[in-house]
Symmetry: C2
DNA sequence: CTCCACTACTCGGTGATACCGTGTACTGGT
DNA sequence: ACCAGTACACGGTATCACCGAGTAGTGGAG
């Protein structure tokens, strides 16, 4: 697949929020999970910048724990603000994707009042 | 709706390509059409920068024509490169949106080989 | 006739984001 | 002793949508 970086802007952070929201986890594992999910070209550096941003914006709770197979891991979990942000992300995604798919299908549709655009 | 600007990155240009592809048109009208389609906060300045970029990248064919109700209009139509770019855009959109929706639905699915991720 | 609204395009600068490369550091196997 | 895999941080870059101001043409209200 072609380069997706521009299209990922604004959505990748939401994906990371979703992953953290479903399970407390850490950067390296999030990167691997994203790769498995089809976001093949996302690399660690990108994920870490997102995680630092989430932390700076107060959307996550952080806990450092030893690993056993390498350096200590920073585990992330959503707090209330993070869950709210995640809900807003999915609302935006729903809004945007419905409109884009409508445009794709010809950009015409009928409202409840029968108005055709 | 909240601010969509970050999420629009990489997709708004594709939307403009789609609009131009379905009908030869000009910047001001494209902006109005996007607003009607639900991209309410997109303003003219944004659309014009996209159009200039498309022109610079050789994806469109341009024709200036008098208007009758204002300054002359610059009409845009896709050329072969533009149609190819549009096809790539929809392929990327399809790829990305399917993966994001999968993540939204729990991030688990079964391949044709029966492997569960 | 003058002002204003609407139409229509251009351009320099800003902020946000994903990406790149490099560096640091811990563990275990050869 | 070396190297691969794990794990995180950070400075710099490119791209993109957006903002604001400017320039112009037409037509209607006062």
């Amino acid at each position: 697949m072609d380069d997706l970086t521009e299209m990922l802007k604004g959505t990748l952070e939401g994906c990371v929020l979703e992953i953290i929201g479903s399970e407390e986890t850490y950067g390296y594992a999030i990167t691997r999970q994203l790769n498995e999910l089809g976001f093949a070209d996302v690399v660690e550096g990108t994920v870490y910048t997102i995680l630092l941003r989430l932390e700076r914006n107060g959307l996550v709770q952080v806990a450092k724990r030893p690993s056993g197979v390498g350096p200590p891991r920073k585990f992330y979990a959503l707090n209330d603000a993070g869950r709210e942000e995640l809900a807003k992300f999915w609302a935006k995604w729903q809004y945007l994707s419905s409109r884009i798919n409508r445009l794709k299908e010809g950009g015409r549709w009928v409202t409840s009042a029968g108005v055709v655009y």
